[in-house]
Amino acid sequence: MALETATPPATDPAPAPARRRRTRVSGKGRAWDAIFAGLARGSTVLTLLILAALVAVLFESAVPSIRENGAKFLVSSEWRPNEREVQKRDAAGHLVMEDGEVATETLPAEFGALPVIWGTAASSLLALLFAVPIGFGAALFLVRICKPRLGGPLSFLIEFLAAVPSIAYGMWGLMVLAPLLQDHIEPFLRSVLDVPGLHWLFHETIQVGGESITRVLPLSGRDMLCGGLVLGIMILPIVTAISRDVLRAVPREQIEGSLALGATWWQSSWAMLRYSRAGLLGAVLLGLARAAGETMAVTMVIGNNNQIKASIFAPAQTMSSLLANEFAEATTELHRAALIEIALVLLLMSLAFNISARMLVTGGATKSGGRR
């Protein structure tokens, strides 16, 4: 769906001639024009209304959580949907005895979305880290190297990959990638990278009986790295397809201009990337929006653990995977409202990504187009 954004806006009719033409058509033609214009305007308004309604409904259902949690919602990293009884400890971490028994205390329910916001941000960035260099490289290959006879089928394949249901990527990630990571890649990385300065990547500090101990991080394969990789593979087609279209729109004179000055293939490719940087940033943001909103595949491979860990080898949780995991089982009103508030934050975030991406893709193209 987002692929249309990349079509160069060259088709934009200049407003003046269109108006002039309209005055020349017959009265009947004018009536049809008016009807179609009305329909077009109507469907645009309808789309906006649906979006507004969506935001309004989410907001309304989230009100209990917004009222209860306030700004703490966005900064707290405690996510405890139900109140929980725990053993009471004193300041030194020793158990408190009362009447010869271990005393307990009840922690109230708490809703802090920071771990999932972090999880979404980190996994999306990780995905970009994989998808952007490969996507740009593939786009350059399609535009500059490969012959049309090969480029057509390849382009079709890439667009097809964009349409593969995400559960398929998730299953592949769970059944193929995660075991591969767990058994081979991650142990290998640990054997190579576990050097002074990088110990934090492979160790974690946990609380046991009031003491914090550091231990080797168990490698599960279902972790932030796996989530980021699967996401990266999922957004690769869209990043490739859009940057291919953006690069294809680079005027020939720009490329030949740099080559004529003695630029190498890489240097002239760099000039192309530079020329279309706005459009490419748009491609990246659309990829980011898709990565941030992705649910099923991530839920299957990211390990689903509400924690903020620096290591990419630790399980994590994203906003959408939290929703998928908990929404059906949310029993208290506050829990539901908190989940809905997460959905609201996610919606607003992807809206912001999408809008800025669109402005960049089309705005960048008009700027260069207007110079022709």
């Binding site: 201009g257 080559l259 004529a260 000055l261 003695g262």
Partner: protein, 311 residues
């Protein structure tokens, strides 16, 4: 050298050749004038080879580029036929001919930009100051660094004016700011743009007017001190005033640079160039000093073309 010919360019086809010019020609003797009227075109239409009419005065000129028996095909379609010509050093040579006759193709063959076009194949060779251009061991990147090119449409890069001018040095890895600034100023002065832009070198080159952009492109092309400068209809996208400025500039560059320029504008060719080559359907028909080509061409076909009787 600027010979003013009372013609208002090729477009003024109806104005014909001034009779004064044709009457100065010696009485026509068929053998002296090579193929008779129509013979060249006839030969071409029967795809027969014919020798290019090359004026002897060219042989005395040292060549910066030498084209040797050059042939070029786009896929199976041949676009250049047996072109042999010497481009004189330090002079301005104009390539003229009807649309589609292969002027741009010939020009782009000099810096091997045609290498990028799918399906292009060539025979023959060219020499740049004696060095083979198409030889097997030639490094195309190094070759292109020795040649400057200005395109039909101004094509500044979306960077600052400064970065545009020093692009050739940047891609060569030059970092020294003093060197870059020096080259920038010298090139912009050379292109007659320095006074207009010296206070806004850091601003985007896209803000310049079309004519300024084209002069910027010339500055960019001369920044690396090329051995030859290729211009492909450098004024065709500009208004008359900007065109005038570029023509003046080209005239100034003429002594310092060897220039090969494609033009559609006969007036421009006759006013600015030292030598003129007339191409037709991929063949070099006649090549000689501009004065002779315009005032006493040896071939009727050339005369018909430069006077706007066809083309």
């Amino acid at each position: 050298m600027a010979t003013v010919i009372p013609l208002s360019g090729a477009q003024a086809a109806s104005s014909r050749l001034p009779h004064a010019a044709s009457t100065t020609l010696p009485p026509r003797v068929e053998e002296e004038r090579g193929p008779a009227r129509g013979r060249v075109f006839e030969a071409i239409s029967r795809s027969e080879a014919f020798p290019s009419e090359i004026h002897e005065s060219l042989l005395a000129e040292p060549a910066v580029v030498e084209v040797r028996d050059f042939r070029l095909w786009y896929a199976r379609k041949q676009a250049l036929f047996d072109i042999s010509m010497r481009i004189p050093r330090g002079k301005l040579t104009a390539l003229v001919g009807p649309s589609g006759c292969g002027k741009s193709t010939l020009l782009r063959s000099v810096n091997r930009l045609n290498d990028l076009v799918d399906g292009v194949s060539i025979e023959g060779d060219m020499l740049l100051n004696g060095d083979s251009i198409y030889g097997r061991s030639v490094d195309v990147i190094d070759l292109r660094k020795r040649i400057g090119m200005v395109f039909q449409k101004p094509n500044p890069f979306p960077m600052s004016i400064f970065e545009n001018v020093v692009y050739a040095l940047r891609i060569d890895g030059v970092r020294d700011t003093r060197v870059l600034e020096e080259v920038c100023e010298r090139s912009l002065r050379g292109a007659g743009l320095w006074d207009e832009v010296k206070d806004r070198l850091r601003e985007s080159a896209l803000q310049l007017s079309g004519g300024q952009q084209q002069r910027l492109c010339i500055a960019r092309a001369i920044a690396a001190e090329p051995e030859v400068l290729l211009l492909d209809e450098p004024c065709s996208a500009l208004d008359p005033i900007a065109t005038g400025r570029i023509e003046d500039l080209i005239e100034e560059l003429k002594g310092d640079y060897s220039i090969l320029m494609v033009t559609h504008n006969m007036q421009q060719a006759s006013r600015t160039s030292d030598f003129t080559a007339f191409l037709y359907l991929g063949r070099l028909v006649e090549y000689g000093p501009t004065n002779d080509i315009f005032l006493k061409p040896r071939l009727r076909e050339t005369e018909d073309y430069v006077t706007g009787r066809f083309g």
